[in-house]
Amino acid sequence: MIMLTELQKVYQGESGPVKALDNVSLEIEQGEIFGIIGKSGAGKSTLIRCINLLERPTAGRVLVDGQDMITLSEGELREARKRMGMIFQHFNLLSARTVLENVAFPLELAGVSRSEREKKVEPLLELVGLTDKRDVYPAQLSGGQKQRVGIARALASEPKVLLCDEATSALDPQTTESILALLKDINNKLGLTIVLITHEMHVIKAICDKVAVIEGGQLVEIGKVFDVFTNPQSATAQDFIKAVVNNKVPDTLAKLLSEVPIVGGNLVMRLSFFGEATNEPFIAGLIRRFAVDVNIISGNIDHLQDIPYGTLLIELSGKDEDIQNALRYMQDLDLRTEVIGYVARHAHVAG
């Protein structure tokens, strides 16, 4: 649906040229919810604006629905933009227009008659749950309601693509949830391709199918959300994931850890498992098979894209030989195992 090839964007800054985008290529498929995550200044705003050419890339190609955006004339570009909706962090609603008039705005721009506009806007207001607010001005709405108006407005011209520029960053957590649920719902109902940029990993985790991580204008990682979450390759992705998946070694334990085995010490390890593996009572199996004790230090089981996904931080105690056998057993299972280190027995009381 959207194909970006070797995008470059260079700004002339006060102290010489600044590379906002450096050789970014990615492909977004029809009907996908594609997330782009990056810290502020990473270039994600520039990237999303290159899709509808609010920012013109210095080099590279932008294909949307088979159309090469960069070669379009001004008039053709305006027509192409009408097939893409966009929502914004600060909503950008027209303060002098009512909710109804705001949602009807893209239709008005396209020259649709007043009665026709009203006919098209009503179901959109219903979709976003604002039918009772149709004649209210934006100033009287809450942040979440304003974003709902923004979404309805973006959908008015029946676009194939919805671009979301930090759409939930100015909202509180509950409102964020409801807006994300609405986006997911729209994606399901209308088969709309959604591209969103954010600096919050939980947004990606909540609704995206695929994610691209950008840093310093470069694409550092791209893949299915599940893969990036369970096995992040780049340091940037690992950083973002830490914010939502808590499998950190507690500080009190980290201080006692040794990387080399301690004779008669306990083994501390992290297990990640997903899908089928979450259904197996493997800790019970472990204790039954080997003369080891298992102490769970921390753990969580969550769902990513409806696939159960868990991590456990455990401490094994027993004879050195039994511990090693248990470790080999686990490594043969369909689990991801990571040895964190060793602690002297009784040096630590896990809480």
Binding site: L54, F88, S95, A96, P106
Partner: protein, 217 residues
Amino acid sequence: MSQDMLMLLVEGLGETFYMVTVSSLVSALFGIPLGVVLVVTGKGHIKENLVFNQTLGAIVNAARSTPFIILMVAIIPFTRIIVGTSIGTNAAIVPLSIAAIPFLARVVESAIKEVDAGLIEAAQSMGASTGQIILKVLIPESMPSIVLGFTLTVISLIGYSAMAGAIGGGGLGDLAIRYGYQRFRADVMLATVVILIAMVQIVQSSGDYFAHRLNKR
């Protein structure tokens, strides 16, 4: 005060009202578009053209820094071309408009500059043309400030119109000078001042009222 004096006051009021109304309308007709052009051709705006913008800005500044009384005399040849005479209320309308256009343009410019750049970006993302952005976003969004700026212009014009008496423009200012000052008629002087104050108050209050009505923020 005699019947005659009263008649003169009513006549003067009518002339002032006529001069101010016509020159206000003319200044709105030219000043608002000029203000829009000053914004959209500015740096980083939708129709950036810095050479044009700075040239236009310099002309506007030149017109604004000329004292009204001098402007009025200096453009007499131009006034003759437009209205065929250089005396009377119609002749006064020309310099009044010329003085008010750049003033209103600057006021409109600063009002429109207040419009959040995000709104322009949103309109562009919906495929709005430059004309649509101006007419459907920039002007409606800054309407309350434009109305207040226009009010300010009308009030300035009431003040300037009193000076127009100097070139035989008529109106209340003319009356105050000829009778109140030159013939020592303190009552006439007082009456014209009171009428002018009342006019300014009415204009300001209506301006505030409309600006408030239009402001949905």
